[in-house]
Symmetry: D2
Subunit: 331 residues, 4 copies
C-alpha cells in the first residue's frame, strides 16, 4: 500500500480547494492501493460549539482536498474507477453547523432574497467508532439520540474538461462536491477522464449525512481513507457513476433539481440499455419501474440526484468489464 | 366493513376526474372500514401492446377516481387520517406506456420544445399475486425480468382550498397525484381538511413504480382496496404526510423540484421540532443528518418529493395522537 | 354599449375569486362593447398605510373578478378576442404593500424556508389622471417621485379546461393572473375557449407595475373598463396571446421561469411560422434574432413570461384574420 | 488610443476560451482607450450555409476571447468600469445556426432527454453597416426581412473568485457569456475585481440578438471594438451591472431562471436603496413598480436576466461616482 500523508501543519493558503489547476502530489499506477487522509471541510478550524464558521473560517479556504493524484495511463476518453476499501473518521468527534446564506431552507447568494441570515450555530457529535454510532445532541434542550455511523466522502472528482478549474464546493460532470451518502466504503466511483493522469482528488468526509444535506453541513470530520484505482480504457463516462454490491448508480448535478434528475435518469436508461442489450425505449420503461432515486444534496452550487438500479436485474451482465468485482478483492 | 362498488359499466363521461366539485358517493364515519375498488388511470381502455394511449383514451377522461367519500365531522382545520389495510391488483395484468409529450425525459406542454414526440409504446406486465412478482417483458427483444409486486395508489386526496377544482393528474397540498410508492398497505396518509366532509377520493393504482415514475406511467392496474379513516380534530396539516411502522414522512409537490424538496423538508423540520420539543434550528440540524429523501414523481403537473424520518429517533413521542398505531389494528 | 355594474355593496363572500365554476353575470354577443368596473385585488379593504393586508383582508377573498361573461357562440376550439378600449382608475389613489411570504424576494409557501416573514407595509400612491402620473412616496424617508400612469388588468381569463376551477391568484393556459403590463387599453387578448360561452372574467387593475411585479403587489386600484369581444371560430389558441398596434405577443405561465419562457417562445415560433409561411426552423431562427422577452410576474403561483415579435416583420400578413384591426375601430 | 490586434492567423489551440487562468496580453492604466477586435464565437470557422457547427468547429475551441487585459491598480474589492465607445462588425456578413443539443427549445446536456437532436442548419445574414440593417433570409423559402443592426458583445468579464477558471460559454458573477443586447456602444459595464489586475476579456460579438437568444446563437460576427476602463476603488460589485444614458441595470446569471431574476432584483433593490438613501423595503417597493426586466439568455450554462431602473427616478443621485458620465466623454 502506498501512503500519502498531507502535512497536518500546512498553512491553509497552501492547500488545494479546486478540481483542475493543481500539481499532482503523487503518481499512481492502476491497481495501486493508497492510504491517505483528508481534512474536514472547515480545514480543522471548527472545534467546539463556540466556533462559528463565519468567524473562524476564511471563505477562500473551505473544503480542502487531498490530491490530486496522477494516474498513469489515464487519458481523455477513459474512465477512472476509484474503489473505497475503507473510510474511517480520524477523531472521535464530528461537527456540523448552520452557515449564513447556505443550505436548502434559507435564502442563498443564488436564490437571493431580502431576508437576514438564519442564526448561526455549531453542533458537536460524539462518534463511537466501535459501536458505529453518531451522537446528536440538541443545543437548546437536553435531547440526544444516536444515529448510525455511515462514513463517506462528500467530494471525489477529477480535473474538469475545457480547461476549467472548479471550486471544491461545486459538483458537476467531473464529480466534486456531490455529497451523496452512497460514496462509502465498498463502493466504486466511475469518473470520466478529461486530462492526462485524470488528477483525482477527494475530501469532505462525513461521519454521516441525511439525503439532501438539508442545512448544507453534514457531520464533518477528517477521514482516514484507503482506496484503489483502475482504468477502463477507451470507455468515456459522461457523468459520475457508482457501483456497490447491490446497485448500479448514476448521478446528475445541476439546477434546477429536475435537471439533475433528468441527467441521472438518461444516464441510467442508457447504461441499462447497453448492459441488457435493450432498445432505449425498453430501458426507459424498465428504469421507470425499477429505479430508486434518492436526493443527494440541495445545498451546493449545483444540486445532485442519484438514480439506482438493483443489480439483480442484470442477470449475467457486468458493468465496466467487472472492475468493481475485481477491486472488491483488493487489500 | 362498508362496501362501495363503482359500476364497472359506467360511461367514462360520468366518472370523477378531479378533487373538489363532485358530489359524494358515500358518507363515512371515523372508524369505518371501507372496501372499494379503483379503475386504472386509463379507465380500462388499454388492454394490450396494440392499445396506444393517444388512440384509445380520451384526454378528458384520464385517471378516474373512486369517491369522493364524505367523512362525517370533518371540518376545515382538521386532519383526515386514511389508513390502507389492503391494496391488491384486481387482475393478473398491468399496463404501462409512453405517452406523447408526457414523462421526465421528454419535452412536455410545460417544458415546451420543438422536438417531435418520442415513440408511443405499450408494455404489458404479468402480475403473480401469489409469488408477489411483476414480470417486465421488453418489446424489442426477448428480455424479461421479475420485479417485486409492491401495490400502491398514485392518487389520494381531498377537496382543495379556495374552492378550487383540480384535475386528478395534479398533486398539491390537497394530495392528488403524488405518485409515491410509500402509499402502500400499512401506511397512513394524513390530509388537511379544506371543506366540510373532506371529500376523500383515491385511484391510480400501481402494481409497482420506480422512484420518479420516469416515463410518466407506472405498472397501472385496477385495485381492490380496503381503507379506514379517522379524524385528528383541530389539527391542520398543510401538506400531505404519511406514516408507516418505520417512518414519518412529509411530502411537497411543486415546480421546480427543489421547491418540492423545500416544502417536504420544512414540514419535516417543523414536525420533528413539535414531536421532540426541539427548537427549529435543532430540528433542522437533526433532519439534515437523519432524513431520507426519495423522489416520488418528476412527470406530473407538479413534481413530488418525500422526506422520511426514522421513527426510532422519536423515543416515546407519538405523531398525530397515535392514530397510526390505532388504525393499524383495524380490520 | 352594454353596462355591467357590480354592486359596490356586495358582501365579499358573494364575489367570484376563480376562473370556472361560476354562473355568468351577463350574456354577450360578438361585437358587443361592454362598460364595467372591477374591484381592486384587496376587494377594497386597504385604504391607508395603516391597513395591513394580513389584518384587513380575508385570505379566501383576494383578487375578486368581474364576470364571468357568457359569449354567445363561443365553443371549445374557438379563440375569444378581448379588446380593451379603455382602462381607467376609478379613484385618485392606488395601494401597494408587502404581504407575508408573498413576492419574488421572500420565502413563500412554495419556495418554503425557515425565515420569518419580511416586514409588512402598505404604500399609498396618488394618481394624477390628467397628467397621467403615479406618485410614489417612501414610508421611511421623505422621498417622492412621479412614475407614468399605465393602467392595465393583472387578471383576464376564461374557464379552464378539464373542468378545473382555478383561483384568480393563478395564471395558466386559460389566462388568469398573468400580471403583464401589456394588458393595457389598445391591446387585444386572445384566449382559447374551453367551455361553451368561454366565461370571460377580469380584474386586478394596476395603475402601473414593474416587469416581474417584484414585491408581488402592483399599484392596485379599482378600474373602469370598456372592452369588446369577437370570436375566431375553429381556431384554438393553446396559451394566451396579445396583439397591439406594434407587437404580436405570446405568454407562458409556469414554474420554473424557464418553462414559462419555453412556452412563450414555442408559441411565438409556431405563430411566426404560420403567419409568414416559414418552416419551423426558419421561424425559430427569426424569433431568436427579433423577439423581445419581458418578464411579467415572478410572484404568482405560476410565473409569466411574454415574448414579443415586432409587427413590421409581418409585411402583409395579418394575425387572427385581422380581428385586432377591426376591434381597434370599435367604440 | 492603445491598439491590441490579435493575430488573425493564430492557431485556435493558442487562443483563450476562459475567464481566469490566462496570461495578460496587455497592461492598461485607468483612462486608457483601447482599440481591438474580437473573433466570432465560431473562431471564424463558419462561412456559409454549408458549414455546420458540429462539423467545422472543435468543441474545445468555441467562443475565443480577446484579452485578458491587466488593469493597473485593480485589486480585489474594487469595481472595474468598462465603457464601450464603439462596437462595429468587421465584415459585411454574420452567421447564425442551430447546434445539436444547444438552445432554449431543445433538450441539452443539462436538461437531458431522450430526443434526437433538432436538425442542424446555418443562416447567413448580410449586414448593411451604412443603413444599419441586418438581413434575415429564410433557408426553406424565399422570405427575407431587414432587422435593425444593433452590435453588442455577448461576453465581457474578469477572472472569477476562488481561483476558478470558467469557460467562456458560461456567465456568472464575473460576467462572461451574459448575452444581453444591453452590452452595446454607449454602455458602461461594472465588474467586481477578484484578482489583481482584474484580467478583463471580451468576445462573442453579435450584430444583433433577440432577448433570450432563443436558438442559442445570435447573428455572430467578428467585431472592431473601442473601449476604455476606469476603477471605482474600494467599492465591490457582487454581480455585473450596466449603465447607459437612460438606465441603471443589474444582471443575474443562474439556474433556474427565477434565481437569475432574484439576483438581478435584489441587486437593483440594494443599489436603489443606496443611491436614493431609501430603506430596503421602500426600495423594494419602488423597484416593484418601476423596473423593466428583459430576459438576456436562456441557453447558456447559466441563464441571465437584466433588471433596469430608469435614471429619471434618481434626481441628482449619480451611480459609481459618476464614472459613466465621465467615460461617455472619452475618445
Amino acid at each position: 500500500m502506498l501512503r500519502h500523508d498531507p502535512d497536518p501543519q500546512a498553512d491553509p493558503s497552501t492547500l488545494v480547494y479546486a478540481f483542475g489547476g493543481a500539481e499532482p502530489v503523487l503518481q499512481l499506477r492502476p491497481g495501486d492501493v493508497v492510504g491517505t487522509w483528508t481534512r474536514d471541510c472547515f480545514a480543522g478550524r471548527v472545534g467546539s460549539t463556540a466556533d462559528l464558521v463565519s468567524e473562524v473560517c476564511d471563505p477562500r479556504y473551505l473544503n480542502p482536498q487531498t490530491g490530486p493524484f496522477f494516474v498513469e495511463g489515464a487519458e481523455p476518453g477513459d474512465t477512472l474507477a476509484v474503489h473505497f476499501l475503507s473510510i474511517e473518521p480520524r477523531e472521535a468527534r464530528g461537527f456540523s453547523s448552520t452557515v449564513p446564506f447556505f443550505g436548502a431552507l434559507t435564502a442563498t447568494p443564488g436564490t437571493a432574497m431580502l431576508h437576514p441570515a438564519l442564526p448561526e450555530r455549531t453542533w458537536v457529535y460524539e462518534l463511537d467508532r466501535v459501536e458505529r454510532l453518531v451522537r446528536y445532541a440538541a443545543l437548546d434542550s437536553a435531547f440526544t439520540v444516536d444515529l448510525p455511523l455511515d462514513p463517506m466522502h462528500g467530494t471525489v472528482g477529477v480535473a474538469p474538461p475545457l480547461g476549467e478549474v472548479r471550486s471544491s464546493l461545486t459538483p458537476g460532470s467531473w464529480g466534486g462536491n456531490m455529497d451523496t451518502p452512497e460514496m462509502r466504503a465498498g463502493a466504486t466511483c466511475y469518473l470520466g477522464v478529461n486530462v492526462p493522469g485524470a488528477l483525482l482528488s477527494l475530501g469532505d468526509g462525513h461521519a454521516r449525512q441525511g439525503e439532501g444535506e438539508t442545512c448544507g453541513v453534514a457531520v464533518e470530520c477528517a477521514m482516514d481513507t484507503v482506496f484503489t484505482v483502475e482504468l477502463v480504457k477507451g470507455s468515456p463516462t459522461p457523468w459520475p457513476r457508482l457501483e456497490d454490491d447491490t446497485y448500479l448508480m448514476t448521478t446528475g448535478s445541476a439546477r434546477p433539481l429536475e435537471d439533475a434528475f433528468r441527467i441521472a435518469h438518461t444516464e441510467l436508461v442508457r447504461w441499462t440499455a447497453e448492459l441488457l442489450d435493450l432498445s432505449e425505449l425498453d430501458a426507459y420503461q424498465l428504469v421507470s419501474q425499477a429505479a430508486l432515486t434518492p436526493v443527494a444534496n440541495v445545498v451546493d452550487t449545483n444540486y445532485t440526484v442519484v438514480a439506482k438500479l438493483p443489480k439483480y436485474l442484470l442477470g449475467s451482465a457486468v458493468a465496466m468489464g467487472g472492475v468493481h468485482g475485481r477491486l472488491r478483492q483488493a487489500r
